[in-house]
């Protein structure tokens, strides 16, 4: 019982120690995207646009009613991804596979368009692919 109490306290303390996901100030994030309107997306990676100043990737995401919608997500500049060890080939290798991403929606109301932040491919590794701030 005591051990359970200690473990419980340890879990709570560890939670407080969790590092916040780093955020990276970017030129236009706040103007273009709504940091108060962010959510998690799980879907299938369908396509990438690998061009500067930003990359884009596309996912088929099921809504609450099971309807599949195509979403596009903005990434960092490609050089930033490359210097962080995130290569184009990694995205290509994951086309057709399940992806999880945290994204913030566009402020101008554009449908199915978001800035990406952290992302997980099927290898389960958390990667920072965009300038999401929430």
């Amino acid at each position: 019982m005591k051990i359970a109490r200690i473990l419980g306290a340890a879990v709570i303390t560890a939670g407080l120690l969790l590092p916040a996901v780093p955020s990276f100030a970017h030129h236009s994030f706040a103007a273009e995207f709504d940091a108060t309107n962010c959510r998690d997306f799980t879907g299938t990676l369908t396509k990438i646009d690998w061009q500067n100043p930003h990359g884009y990737f596309y996912m088929d995401v099921k809504d609450a009613n099971g309807k599949v919608e195509s979403w596009s997500f903005q990434t960092y500049a490609l050089i930033t991804l490359k210097r962080a060890g995130i290569e184009r080939q990694l995205f290509i290798d994951n086309i057709g596979k399940e992806v999880w991403v945290r994204g913030c929606l566009a402020r101008n109301g554009r449908q199915n368009y978001a800035a990406s932040g952290t992302l997980k491919f099927s290898d389960g590794i958390l990667r920072q692919v965009g300038q999401l701030q929430d």
Binding site: A10, S28, K82, A84
Partner: protein, 275 residues
């Protein structure tokens, strides 16, 4: 007492394990401030050689989008040690900047509109690498961002008589001991000094001071004089760039969805003002 100690160790072990497991992959590998390295190399004429690929941080490698980076390694300077005063604007200039809407401000940024940053912004608001090639009498600057370049004579020559306005202006260099001083005039008025609406006039005069105190560090200090816009000259902190063994990339700014999205947002702003 023994029991408490045992629980204490168990608690600590669980805490440590949970903390490590909670870290994103790679976060355990902290990226630290790069050591200074040995003395700076010199050219045949005895002046410091600035050649190398430089990144605007203290890490000597990319830091954006990476976990586990020492905050000091992200910085170009420590504001507690070398504070940087804000620019002191003429009242009319400050009013002009304050009148910009958030979207107008975004659309003015080189990172959004894909116009060249120009000097001095390319040394003040540039997160990408810069390749320097020093030769006696000349410094070549190859900027990764937007594939911009500059060739600066360093033989102490004066400015030309009728310089034309350019994004990079007309820069002429001279040596003051081991410091290369580049004097710049004649700048295209479409550029901004900082991505906060700080515009400039045709009277802009920029002085860049380059030093390489050691193998791995390049220090760039900028002075901005613009009596039509500022009430007094502005001086940057000595900003540190670190040597990297990475390579320079191509960066053409194309397919910029951002510009379209922001222009739609600007239309919405104007419509809401009209109501």
């Amino acid at each position: 007492m023994k029991v408490h100690l045992r629980y204490g160790f168990a608690c600590l072990a669980v805490l440590t394990l949970l903390y490590v497991l909670s870290l994103p992959a790679g976060a355990q590998d902290t990226i630290k401030v790069m050591p200074p390295g040995g003395p700076a190399p010199r050219m045949a004429d005895g002046h410091p050689d600035f050649s190398g690929l430089w990144l605007p941080n203290s890490a000597g490698q990319g830091v954006s989008g990476r976990f586990g980076v020492d905050p000091l390694a992200r910085r170009q300077f420590d504001p507690k040690v070398t504070p940087e005063e804000p620019p002191s604007f003429q009242p009319w200039a400050l009013a002009k900047i304050k009148a910009m809407t958030p979207t107008e401000l975004e659309l003015s940024k080189s990172s959004v509109n894909c116009m060249p940053r120009g000097v001095p912004a390319i040394w003040l608001q540039n997160p990408y690498s810069t390749q320097l090639v020093s030769t006696p009498g000349q410094l070549v600057q190859l900027f990764e961002v937007l594939n911009n370049f500059r060739v600066i004579p360093t033989d102490g020559r004066p400015h030309t008589r009728y310089p034309e306005p350019l994004f990079q202006g007309e820069g002429v260099g001279r040596w003051e001991g081991d410091t290369l001083v580049v004097d710049g005039i004649s700048f295209d008025e479409r550029t901004y000094i900082m991505p906060n609406g700080w515009f400039h006039s045709d009277a802009l005069h920029v002085v860049e001071r380059y030093t390489r105190p050691s193998m791995n560090y390049l220090i760039v200090e900028i002075t901005v004089e613009d009596p039509k816009v500022l009430t007094k000259p502005w001086k940057s902190a000595p900003r540190r760039w670190t040597l990297t063994n990475d390579h320079i990339n191509e960066f053409y700014c194309t397919n910029n969805h951002e510009l379209d999205e922001l222009q739609k947002l600007r239309t919405q702003e104007l419509e809401s003002k009209g109501k």
